[in-house]
């Protein structure tokens, strides 16, 4: 789908807006590399770095992982709906979708915290082995991104409530949606190549 160049949506309306969006895409490429290095160390350690600690198949549980995946996939869908609502100028619906997105994100984080506590209780901590260290660092980096996203999203909602939709707030919301979708993409790779591969 191409944008109509005569009638650009608000978030593309100025040159700065356009550059912000392009710049954020470039930032996301750098984020891909960040996660690539984490995945690298994880894949190197997953089988060889277990030591006397537990292996992946022993500590992974399917139900919490499935709940996390479902919550994050749905939140990625709702933030997409928020951008759509923004483009048809339905501010209330947009804020509603953003609130739902952040609630789903908070739900995801609570399950992840439960999961980390579970790992701690069964003796899979950051210091246990190369495998648990890289596992928890990778999951933790993703979780930290989601946490940052929650605060970022709240700030943007406050700004829209205070200033309404204008070129600046629309641009920020669109960039936030890119960030949120990106976190979902990274989670899909974690879900497939850390959890499912580990339980296969």
């Amino acid at each position: 789908m191409k944008l109509d160049s005569k009638n650009l949506p608000l978030e593309y309306s100025t040159e700065t807006n356009r550059m912000n969006i392009l710049g954020f895409w470039i930032f996301l490429s750098a984020e891909i590399m960040l996660f690539a290095t984490l995945f690298t160390s994880y894949f190197v350690y997953v089988d060889r770095g277990v030591g006397s600690g537990p292996a992946g198949a022993e500590i992974f549980e399917l139900p919490p992982v499935l709940i996390e995946t479902f919550l994050l996939l749905t939140s990625s869908f709702t933030i997409g709906l928020a951008v759509h609502a923004m483009r048809i100028n339905r501010v209330k619906a947009m804020i509603g979708f953003m609130v739902v997105t952040l609630l789903l994100g908070a739900g995801f984080l609570s399950v992840e915290v439960y999961e980390f506590i579970h790992y701690y209780h069964i003796g899979a901590t950051l210091q246990t082995s190369g495998f648990t260290a890289t596992l928890l660092t990778t999951l933790g980096t993703h979780g930290a991104h989601v946490t940052l996203g929650l605060f970022w999203g709240i700030m943007i909602i406050i700004q829209i409530l205070r200033n309404g939709l204008n070129a600046r707030t629309a641009n920020k919301s669109f960039i936030f949606s890119l960030y949120w979708h990106f976190l979902d993409v990274m989670w899909i790779f974690i879900f497939s190549f850390i959890y499912l591969k580990g339980m296969m």
């Binding site: 789908m1 996301l28 894949f43 933030i79 951008v83 899909i188 790779f189 499912l196 591969k197």
Partner: protein, 95 residues
């Protein structure tokens, strides 16, 4: 109400749920490691593509070229880093 749920995005969401279910088959069915990993690679990359094109609108603006080139560059570097490290440290190679 209906205009708030564009068909394209609803379909994208349903499709990504379906892909998750397909990926789950590696857990529920007994299959070889190579087969399971192939399913995971295929479903994960299609999922990422759906997010990129349907939800992130990667191809809509005039910066489309730059966006795709940069993203593909990031993905290629990521794959080189991951596979290269595995080759050097785990799989080994023979002269």
């Amino acid at each position: 109400m209906k205009e708030l749920f564009p068909l394209k995005q609803v379909n994208g969401y349903i499709f990504s749920l379906l892909l998750t279910v397909v990926a789950l088959s590696v857990y529920f069915f007994d299959m070889s490691f190579a087969m399971g990993l192939t399913i995971l690679v295929v479903t994960a990359f299609i999922q990422a593509g759906v997010q990129l094109v349907v939800f992130m609108h990667a191809g809509e603006s005039e910066d489309k070229g730059g966006i795709y080139v940069h993203t593909i560059y990031g993905v290629v570097l990521a794959l080189l880093t991951i596979l290269g490290s595995l080759l050097a440290m785990i799989w080994g190679y023979m002269f």
